[in-house]
């Protein structure tokens, strides 16, 4: 398993957002997380790379507990430096891109690898290849503000890929985009899935989920209500709430 989460809990100011989430993502597969807003999908995703610290439960990525190390008979919280090393393996794409606005598209992509100690020339060559892969080789010197939303998100995907992650997290990657720009981002993600990247995607794009996901997980009120292959979850779900959600969104 690339991701194995058991009993993940998280509260914000007394409000329980995650009430014991169990979820696993097999290596080389795509799992799409769907569900009403406020159901805890994004919070869970942010727990997987420890941007949020879970209050309870365990999350293993590729067999290692994220944010902790085994110490004697317990798990001890990692120092920032060691956590950063774990995060090198986990790419993340945000709803609102969060590109570095003062750096060009190319510099955005190069920043991570160089920060991790790779030689700049090598990182630059690889960044150019990645820009080419997301179809933006000609915009290498553009600043984020000069790019459309779809282009920014494609650069953000390239930035995450530059760390050569073994897992990619997507947090509603197309929700902040104008409708006509959604397609270009989904195309890049489709490519990535076809290449065998392990992906955990929080999304409202059920058509994309149907086509690309190996498994769909339906979140409701801080829990996984049900999960299964797209064909079943999107057409014949067990649970009335899932059925309700799917008919409303599709």
């Amino acid at each position: 398993m690339m991701v194995q989460a058991t009993g993940v809990r998280k509260s914000f100011a007394g409000h329980e957002v995650l009430r014991g989430v169990d979820l696993s993502v097999p290596r080389g597969t795509v799992t799409c997380v769907i569900g009403p807003s406020g159901s805890g999908k994004s919070t869970f995703l942010r727990c997987v790379n420890h941007l949020e610290r879970p209050d309870g439960g365990r999350i293993l990525v590729d067999g290692s507990p994220i944010g902790y190390e085994v110490h004697g008979h317990g798990l001890r919280e990692l120092r920032h430096r060691d956590l950063a090393r774990q995060r090198h393996q986990i790419g993340m794409v945000f709803q609102r891109f969060h590109l570095f606005p003062h750096l060009t598209a190319l510099a955005n992509i190069v920043e991570g690898p160089v920060g991790a100690g790779r030689p700049r020339t090598e990182a630059t060559d690889e960044a150019m290849a990645l820009l080419d892969r997301v179809g933006l080789a000609d915009r290498r010197d553009a600043y984020p503000a000069q790019l459309s939303g779809g282009q920014q998100q494609r650069v953000a995907i390239a930035r995450a890929l530059a760390m050569r992650p073994k897992l990619m997290l997507f947090d509603e990657p197309t929700s902040a985009l104008d409708p006509e720009l959604v397609g270009e981002v989904l195309d890049v993600m489709r490519d990535l899935a076809a290449d065998g990247m392990t992906m955990l995607v929080v999304t409202h794009e059920l058509a994309f989920a149907r086509e690309v996901a190996d498994e769909i997980v339906f979140f409701d009120d801080g829990r996984v209500l049900e999960s299964g292959p797209p064909a079943r979850i999107l057409t014949a779900p067990d649970h009335p709430r899932t059925r309700d959600f799917v008919t409303r969104v599709l």
């Binding site: 941007l51 774990q86 995060r87 090198h88 945000f94 750096l103 920043e111 930035r159």
Partner: protein
């Protein structure tokens, strides 16, 4: 209708204002030329004199050194203030409370008279032998006293400016850097501070210009910066006004240069914000 040309709107207010300004300016110019007490020949004689230029150099040195101390310490204080370490937050808060809460002039005098408070300087830590035992006046010279007074005070103000600048950067930027696995230091240096600069530069420019003029307070410590240098001269020659004009001309000249520098810095850090 279509053939009628478009006529300019009349703006009588402009003409009236221009006339008033011209009248006042000519009156001022006349008095500058005809009032012998301005002593322009004296101004000319002293403007590039060694005493004045040495004072100017001392003022520039003090300004630069105090700003460097203020910035270095200010970044540290700002980071402490924003850290999740309670002790660091409290220390930073207390520092800013103390140094913003007392007049700079008083602080300068304290540093100047430090030997009255601590005649010798040594460090006594529990369970350890005392380190050093030197006369305070040999360590805290007039220059050091001036520098400490200006730099430590400035740090308190710059800390608040830098804190505001860092806080103005979207949280998403830190998250993106964290998710990439950048180190804390690199996140600060490469991602947060360059963006905070856009907010930080204009007030720091103001502070620098203000510091240039504030160094004149150091004259109370008898440190020969620009103002004290001309004071020494007019105490001897009684040409008070011409020599104050000499000092003012230099303050204005340097301020103008600093303004130009600030403009270029702002342009540099606005990278990426233009479409």
């Amino acid at each position: 209708m279509e053939e009628l040309p478009i006529l300019r709107r009349r703006r009588p207010g402009r003409w009236v204002l221009t006339l008033v300004v011209l009248l006042l300016a000519s009156a001022l110019a006349r008095s500058l030329v005809t009032n012998p007490r301005f002593g322009w020949d004296t101004v000319g004689a002293w403007l590039f004199s060694r005493t004045v230029l040495r004072g100017l150099l001392a003022t520039l040195e003090l300004t630069a050194a105090a700003m460097v101390i203020g910035l270095a310490l200010g970044v540290g204080l700002a980071l402490m203030r924003l850290s999740d370490n309670t002790v660091a937050r409290a220390v930073s808060w207390a520092y800013i409370w103390l140094f913003r809460g007392t007049p700079l002039l008083v602080q300068l005098l304290f540093w100047g008279f430090i030997s009255a408070l601590y005649p010798t300087l040594s460090l006594h830590l529990p369970f350890l032998p005392a380190i050093g035992d030197v006369p305070a006046n040999s360590v805290v010279t007039t220059f050091t006293a001036a520098l400490l007074g200006l730099g430590l005070n400035e740090a308190a103000y710059l800390a608040e400016i830098i804190r505001a600048g860092i806080a103005s950067v979207d949280d998403g930027q830190t998250e993106a850097a964290e998710a990439l696995g950048l180190s804390r230091a690199r996140t600060l240096r490469r991602i947060i501070l360059p963006q905070a600069m856009r907010v930080i530069i204009p007030p720091v420019g103001n502070e620098t210009i203000s510091m240039l003029k504030t160094t004149s307070l150091v004259s109370v410590l008898a440190y020969a910066e620009l103002l004290y240098s001309v004071q020494i001269v007019y105490a001897r020659t009684y040409q008070t006004i011409p020599l104050l004009i000499v000092a003012s001309i230099w303050y204005l000249a340097v301020t103008t240069l600093l303004n130009i520098g600030q403009h270029h810095l702002e342009r540099h850090f606005a990278k990426g914000s233009r479409r």
